[in-house]
């Protein structure tokens, strides 16, 4: 269980820049095996929140508890898949995986899960954008974290590849039941993948709404055309604006 308790974060003052409050009083919990999305406009502080959960940033107030243990620094129990390419370009697919976990059986298992088993000796620069994201995901999963944080991982990819990766991510989530937090500004992506959506808004940013999404996993792309999906989308849009 993950508890995010009363998180506030200000970016410190710098040369000619005033201190900027970004997040205030963020409270929510994520149950074990739940897929939660945090939805908010670009620049509202979603990535800052992801960085706090990962332990890269320390909030001014509040705390993050993972299985009742306070997050104080980055660690293997929560791994982030970043918006930017976070693979080491000088390491092959295999070496990137091995940096996270040296267990070869586990590496093979997760490379197979993301369909990259035949690309072990490739360098990331020789992979497509979608393959790189799959490798980042496999590298995150291979350490078997309690909590997976996906920070707009598909943002830089085109629509078709995103759809394919949504299906793959949902399949992986269904088989691993890994507690996951997806940070995104894409409503369709959030509804398609999540069990629950948390809406961030306001200045400074706080939680302005929550929605349960009742679709069974694994999901088909066709659910996007259902009335229920469209209703979720409309509801979220109104609370989002």
């Amino acid at each position: 269980m993950i508890h995010i308790k009363n998180i506030s974060f200000n970016y410190p003052a710098g040369n000619h820049i005033k201190e900027k409050p970004v997040l205030t009083g963020i409270n929510f919990s994520i149950k074990d095996g739940e897929f939660v999305s945090v939805l908010g406009r670009s620049g509202c502080g979603k990535t800052t929140l992801a960085n706090i959960l990962a332990g890269y940033l320390t909030p001014q107030t509040g705390e993050v508890l993972i299985n009742n243990i306070k997050v104080k620094k980055p660690g293997k129990n929560r791994i982030v898949v970043n918006q930017e390419n976070d693979l080491f370009p000088w390491m092959t697919v295999w070496e990137n995986m091995k940096l996270a976990n040296s267990n070869e059986k586990e590496i093979n298992k997760y490379l197979k899960l993301v369909n990259l088993k035949d690309y072990k000796q490739y360098f990331p620069n020789h992979l497509s954008g979608g393959m790189k994201k799959r490798l980042s995901l496999a590298r995150a999963l291979v350490v078997n974290p309690d909590f997976l944080i996906l920070d707009e991982p598909f943002d830089s990819l085109d629509y078709r590849i995103r759809e394919v990766l949504h299906i793959e991510l949902d399949r992986i989530f269904s088989s691993t039941k890994k507690t996951t937090l997806l940070v995104t500004h894409d409503i369709d992506e959030a509804i398609f993948l999540s069990d629950r959506i948390i809406i961030l808004g306001g200045t400074p940013t706080s939680v302005v709404g929550q929605f349960d999404i009742n679709f069974l996993h694994p999901r088909e792309l066709s659910i996007r055309k259902t009335k229920k999906f469209v209703q979720y989308k409309d509801k979220i849009k109104y609370s989002y604006v």
Binding site: Y56, K76, N82, E84, D86, F88, W90, L99
Partner: protein, 239 residues
Amino acid sequence: MKKVLLIILVIAIYQAVNSLFPNSYFPSVFQIFEALLKNLSSREIYLHIFTSLLRILIGFSIASITGISLGLILAYDQRLKDIKLYIELLRPIPPIAWIPIAIIIFGLGNASAYFIVFLGAFFPIFTNTYFGAISVPHIYKNVASSFEVSKFKYFLKILLFFCLPYIFSGLKIGIGMAWMSVIAAELIGAQSGLGYYIQLNRLLLQTDNIIIGMILIGIIGNLLQKLIEFAEEKIIVWN
């Protein structure tokens, strides 16, 4: 092909100028060619080349090891950043300005030449490595900390590899500087090497040999540069 044509053109211009304005100090292309054949058939020129190359090998190797290690360590541990300030104070002093001091400390000979070569190569290698190491993107540091990568592994598998393109830029500048420095050191404070060969022939008024020495310096300097580029291509394979 274009390169060969350019060389032929330069030789032709030299010969034309030489024919139009004859000067006893400047030999014709044919005299230079004759002197080249004579030099290549003697053991002496090879000894000078070998001596210069040995000096550069030793001085450049020491500069590479210390420049890369110090660059990485000072960038990695910000508590040591004051040391960089002292190094920066020495950087603007050209290697040639150190020659008198080198001769006083090490005397005329190899040690002085190693020291001058070291100074010529060290600063570009150190500076490039340092700036590479301080520009490691935060995302790599974050990923490493999430995966709880040990400091030793981070240093060896992430920091060093990220810096390799920067290091090679430093090595490429450094080898050129080292080669120029060794020739300068030999011109002033040595009894052997290509620089000494030029200096000796200046005293003997053998301009053809001076030109041959200069041509050899150009060719060998270029080959050393190519050698570093070749190593770069073989090592940085992921691009």
